[in-house]
């Protein structure tokens, strides 16, 4: 469960949303979700606002 109170890394966010971090990376590259901020060469962080957008995009129900 994401509480949208602090920044999360790509892996932490992926774990919280139940997807692979590469999935997030692909969506980011496709421009469907906001890009994270690269704080150092091995760490990319997402702000709470970005987390909300990503959660909305990923939790979009599939039309049955």
């Amino acid at each position: 469960m994401i509480d949208f109170t602090h920044n999360l890394t790509r892996s932490e966010l992926a774990d919280s949303l139940g997807v692979h971090r590469i999935t997030l990376w692909r969506l980011e590259r496709a421009g469907r979700i906001p890009a994270g901020t690269r704080v150092n060469p091995t760490r990319t962080e997402f702000t709470p606002a970005a987390q909300m957008v990503i959660a909305d995009v990923l939790r979009q129900p599939v039309e049955a």
């Binding site: 109170t5 970005a50 957008v53 995009v57």
Partner: protein, 229 residues
């Protein structure tokens, strides 16, 4: 199957939820409340306000994405339309052009015959005049010309003032009692039938003009088929 919420709708709902929670907490807070609880609630409100700022930012991003997606879809649709048109130009037009050329080649002698027939009408009328016979009309006039038409005049019944000489007075005044406009010198008012539109005569005509005068046929290489140069 209902309409699924879009990311924009979800973001709007999130903001509304946060606003509702803030309003609920603010309603609970008050001077009579325990200090620690009041402090805790204040902190919670601060957290929610911070979350609301993030939610507003998320909504702005979702709206931008939606607008961009709509613009991309419109562009893709336009590109598909252009592609269809280009395909039609490449695939269908050559056969249509050939068909048109064949039809024109078949039509040219027919028009030339009709033209010669119409031209002969002058000779025929000269012949008729020399022997005192009635004039003739060419076949195109006979079959295509619309008949003459007469639109009848229109009349209307109107109340008109007349003086003792039967003329229509030119100066009027308002009657002090009835308020009606009456002629200065007096007179009688009577109902007369007045023509409001004259009779109109519309002569017959060939709609669009003669075929030989208005039609121009040309081969695919620009060669004149009708009228022949």
């Amino acid at each position: 199957m209902g309409i699924l919420p879009t990311p924009v709708e979800k973001a709007q709902k999130r903001i509304a939820d946060i606003d509702g929670r803030i309003a609920g907490i603010e309603a609970r807070r008050g001077p009579d409340l325990d200090f620690d609880l009041n402090f805790e609630l204040g902190k919670e409100v601060e957290n929610l306000k911070s979350m609301r700022r993030d939610a507003v930012e998320a909504l702005a991003y979702a709206e931008d994405s939606q607008a961009k997606a709509a613009a991309d879809a419109a562009k893709a649709s336009a590109a598909a339309e252009l592609e269809r048109y280009t395909r039609e130009a490449k695939r269908d037009v050559p056969s249509r052009l050939n068909k048109i050329a064949k039809l024109q080649e078949a039509l040219a002698p027919e028009l030339a015959w009709l033209n010669a027939h119409v031209e002969r009408a002058k000779e025929m009328n000269a012949l008729a005049q020399s022997f005192g016979l009635p004039r003739v009309v060419d076949g195109e006039t006979m079959h295509r010309m619309t008949p003459d038409r007469t639109i009848p005049a229109e009349f209307e019944d109107r109340e008109i003032w007349r003086d003792s000489f039967g003329r229509e007075p030119s100066q009027y005044r308002q009657h002090p009692e009835t308020g009606e406009m009456v002629p200065f010198g007096g007179g009688t008012k009577r109902r007369e039938r007045v023509q409001i539109r004259a009779e109109q005569f519309i002569p017959g005509q060939i709609p669009g003009g003669r075929l030989c005068d208005t039609t121009r046929l040309m081969g695919l290489r620009g060669e004149a088929l009708f009228p022949a140069r």
